[in-house]
Symmetry: C2
Subunit: 612 residues, 2 copies
């Protein structure tokens, strides 16, 4: 790794920051290095939509190399949705192209007066006028920039959602394939800076310490990896959706009920049967979990081939809204992608309003004539447009569930399902209790990927983290340690930049394999302990920032629903996660005090005392 | 009715206000007349604990006559617990004595510089120094004033709770018998005004239009009334506590669970067997539901005979805390009575903390070393002392559940069980859905007495309100009309001033009987429609005040628990009240708009447009 591009949109000044060896050794890259810069540049009181917020794009040491599934980058900023630390990971092909332009990352400061885009090549950096792009959706923006800049350029852009400051705007790459940095409103910050897009293009080689060794490593593992993920390849991330329904993991009607008869109809299997055209592969991937679909006729006919919905989208905008029509969900997905808004939060805000409406807790006038009832496809389409355009009820819904609850006064704020302002994604913490603790303690709010512990349950093992036996999904006692270690591992992966799915393939040997890859790519030798310690450091670094924003145990919580509302009969259906007990143990293991603030001694051990 | 005493504690000035006929005809007395004065004297922005709040004591036309169970008065003020309209009804013997001193009511304005008490006789009004009383509990205050003022005087006073501004201080009469104006912090307002007590004594006759007729009316009904309430006489208000447990009506562990094996052990039947010494009768009562108990030995030995716990107390401080020891509950009751704090809210705040603690949602340091776990009698005793004295954790608990939730940040505010800031009393709205609508729409927040509809269910009928057939406790469609009419009836009873139990005895003929009594007492003839209209007028008058405080549909709600948390298996256990649907119909019937604001036309019809 070499240098970071810094662009001040207020003055137009650009600058190159040379990375020093110590920072790379300490913070690895991606999420870690981004968090370090973020700490230094953004004080806790900064308005996320003001000129003092900073938007950081950061690749990792693996990005752009031939290391498996490593074409990824991280966006770090202060979230306009949660008002705390935010990061959002993105696949596609933009990250490697940024590296080939010669930069490991970009730090955007200030606010431009008028809409601009940033055109980065291996020869030049240009802040260009985006007058003709402003207002276009992400698909059109992508296509237009491909025409005007360079067909080979990769483009990260926002849609009208981010421009209009919907609080959960995404940064989208890949045009119709929509590989996005989706959560916590990174696209909104881009919109607030009047930055419509960043195009990157370059021919520079990404240096690799042992290219031959890396190719051999890939050869050794690729067949087994493809085997491991055969289902994922065939059916995408929503292949197991019906299984999630069986387990009680699938969100149904704002997580209020237990059974959804149409689960199979919105699953990846059904998609593969009916409308799947191709798989989409991020750079360096052998799996191809991305979907490319086409609907040839009917109400939801597509204009050619476009990206299809992920599991999260099919669940949050499908079963979570009582909708069992896959083609309708594809339409929702396309609309959200075009407007550039997060499908998870969009599903959650609409579900919240539907539930309040079903229970008669919201006056009709506040509903703005949208007939938001479970299963109403037309109403959802109407509302997504309103959110994207920030019209009528869309203005309120564009603020996220926490703000909706606050704005509406007190009718049923309890139906706002979020942690720290970030909406609960499509896995139920009553079905897999690692999620309960993971959601409660994830640094960006309710996130399933920052611990990603749930998919290691039920059969898989991960010996190098001390779990050679499969953990039961309701195992309370061991869960705090497991979640903590998984968070450390995921913080490491977010810093190295690699697809988290490959960690599941590496399984029992995950740390050994990551050490191998890191050495092949950079020549640096790190043992398992060092790697995990690096992850722990990054996780704590992010927590430290949040504690300065006032985050403590009082925020490490779950909506009441998940603590008290049983959903049926029988042992599993009646299980509720004992969050508090798990938190006590989790804090103890983390060396955090009883209200969740890291102890100075731990921070000192991690070598980040200057951020305390 | 004749005149109202007005006392300005700031200046020491006193004044007599002559009641005019039109006001009496329009607002009847008690709650109605009090609400009228309150509207005129207290603007919606006034600080409940500041000098601009006003404390109104108001008797009704029946108070002090020989009309059944009518020795009651109403206190009206702006609540320091809810910050909206508050009223609190009280039995005992103070109301009739106030009337015999020559006044129908007292309006207290301003704040005294130093502690005082008000000494009212039929000859004089004196603001006296209360230096020697300040700090005494209600029992000692009562006894001391009996000694120093007049043994025949009746005394209303506050304890250290009200002095120390615990937000739910009560006004207590009857000394150890503790007949109190209990809810919403009327005693706290008295404390903020530095008014320790009001002693009343007089020999004036209370004029009755047809004394002979009234005596005959009583003769005609008293035996049947005693028969009707035989259980109430024998076992008090908690005689049916075990039955409430059967029905799912009893609060158990902060309303979180369904079964309590010790229900019988804390019931009135058990009390009658073990520790009951006598019945306590309010003035004019033939039932005697009040309990006088004595515990002769053991840990909770009493100093002689004192008042025993009501149903609400035994439930809120018993089963609701997982406590099945009646003698311990008697101790809690005595402590709350001595400190002068509301047993319902006290039970609710303690249960909230116990539940948060059980779920591990509250850091130990916030618990102030009180080991608040279900069933811990010693901890409860400790905490009641801390609340009364406003020490340690008692400072926080003294603010009520809504404020606790706000203060603690966001750990589990959902376990704060209140409506509009007033804690849910000891009846579960999942067991009797009239309570769901009643709690949501009661003008003073969650109150079971402002509709009191639930006890008319399950066998009783009330033909004159249009309900000649018993209503099922889960009947959704007819409930809005029933609750609305019951609220109107109860607002009438709160204005006439009579014990609400006698309304149950009057049953099918309730309006006819009330018309008879009113005519016998005052000579005024009102038919059933006029009586119910008067109740409707008073109910709307109170709602109008609240709407000026910002109250609307968003506040007419229930804690999520009661809307989503089923408690067991089977039809009844799984029932959840459809609050929104009932609200829609309720607003329609009330001629309120869809967000719950009374339509001008309705207010005009009720003749209270000047308060719109």
């Amino acid at each position: 790794m070499g240098k970071i591009l810094k662009v001040d949109l207020g003055t137009g000044a650009t600058e190159e920051i040379k990375l020093n060896k110590k920072d790379i050794e300490t913070f690895i890259g991606g999420s870690g290095l981004g968090a370090k810069y973020f700490h230094e540049l953004v004080s806790p009181g900064v308005d996320p939509l003001g000129e003092k917020n900073v938007l950081i794009f950061m690749t990792g040491p693996l990005t752009g190399t031939k290391a498996f599934s490593s074409d990824r980058f991280e966006v770090i900023t202060k979230s306009p949705l949660t008002n705390i630390y935010a990061e959002s990971d993105c696949g596609g092909k933009w990250g490697s192209m940024l590296k080939r332009s010669g930069y490991d990352g970009i730090i955007i400061t200030g606010v431009s007066e008028k809409p601009v885009y940033l055109n980065i090549t291996d020869r030049s950096v240009e802040i260009a006028d985006a007058k003709d792009l402003w207002g276009l959706d992400t698909f059109d923006t992508h296509n237009k920039l491909k025409e005007s800049v360079d067909k080979k350029a990769e483009i990260a852009c926002i849609g009208p959602g981010g421009e209009n400051l919907v609080r959960y705007g995404v940064i989208s790459t890949g045009g119709v394939h929509a590989r996005v940095a989706g959560r916590a409103g990174c696209g909104t910050v881009m919109g607030s800076k009047k930055l419509k897009a960043i195009t990157v293009y370059g021919n520079k080689k990404v240096k690799v310490f042992n290219q031959k060794g890396l190719i051999e490593f890939n050869k050794l593992h690729s067949k087994a990896m493809v085997d491991e993920f055969r289902g994922m390849k065939e059916y995408g991330t929503s292949g197991g959706l019906a299984g999630c329904e069986e387990l009680g993991d699938l969100p149904i009607k704002n997580f209020s009920t237990r059974r959804f008869s149409k689960a199979e109809n919105i699953s990846g299997r059904y998609m593969a049967k009916k409308i799947l055209k191709k798989k989409y592969y991020c750079g360096g991937c052998v799996i191809g979990c991305g979907r490319i679909i086409e609907i040839k006729d009917g109400k939801y006919k597509t204009k050619g081939q476009i990206g299809g919905p992920e599991y999260e989208t099919s669940a949050m905008l499908g079963s979570n809204l009582g909708i069992g029509d896959l083609e309708a969900i594809c339409k929702f997905n396309e609309l959200c992608n075009r407007y550039g808004i997060d499908t998870i939060t969009t599903g959650s805000v609409i579900a919240m309003i539907m539930e309040c409406n079903e229970r008669g807790l919201i006056p009709k006038k506040d509903l703005d004539d949208t007939k938001l009832v479970w299963g109403s496809v037309d109403a959802v389409i109407k509302v997504i447009h309103k959110i994207g355009k920030q019209e009528g009820i869309g203005k309120l819904l564009g603020k996220g569930t926490r703000a909706i609850a606050k704005k509406l006064g007190s009718y049923a704020p309890e139906f706002a399902l979020h942690v720290k302002g970030l909406e609960i994604p499509a896995h139920d913490p009553r079905a897999k209790i690692s999620l309960a603790l993971g959601y409660a303690t994830s640094n960006r709010g309710a996130c399933h990927l920052q611990a990603f512990a749930f998919d290691f349950l039920g059969g898989n093992t991960i010996s190098e983290l001390g779990f050679p036996e499969p953990l039961d999904r309701f195992e309370v006692n061991k869960m705090p340690e497991f979640v903590m270690k998984m968070q450390n591992l995921m913080s490491l992966a977010d810093s190295l930049k690699c697809c988290k799915f490959i960690l599941f393939y590496f399984g029992d040997h995950v740390l050994t394999r990551l050490a191998q890859v890191l050495e092949l790519v950079t020549g640096r030798k790190m043992d398992s302990d060092e790697l995990l310690l690096a992850g722990e450091r990054v996780f704590n670094l992010k927590r430290l920032y949040n504690t300065k924003c006032g985050i403590s145990r009082k925020d490490d919580k779950l909506p009441e629903r998940f603590l008290v509302q049983k959903r049926g009969e029988g042992k599993y259906e009646d299980f509720l996660p004992p969050l508090g007990k798990m938190l006590d143990e989790y804090y103890r293991l983390r060396n955090w005090d009883e209200i969740g603030l890291p102890e100075r001694q731990k921070i000192k051990e991690l070598g980040i005392e200057e951020y305390y």
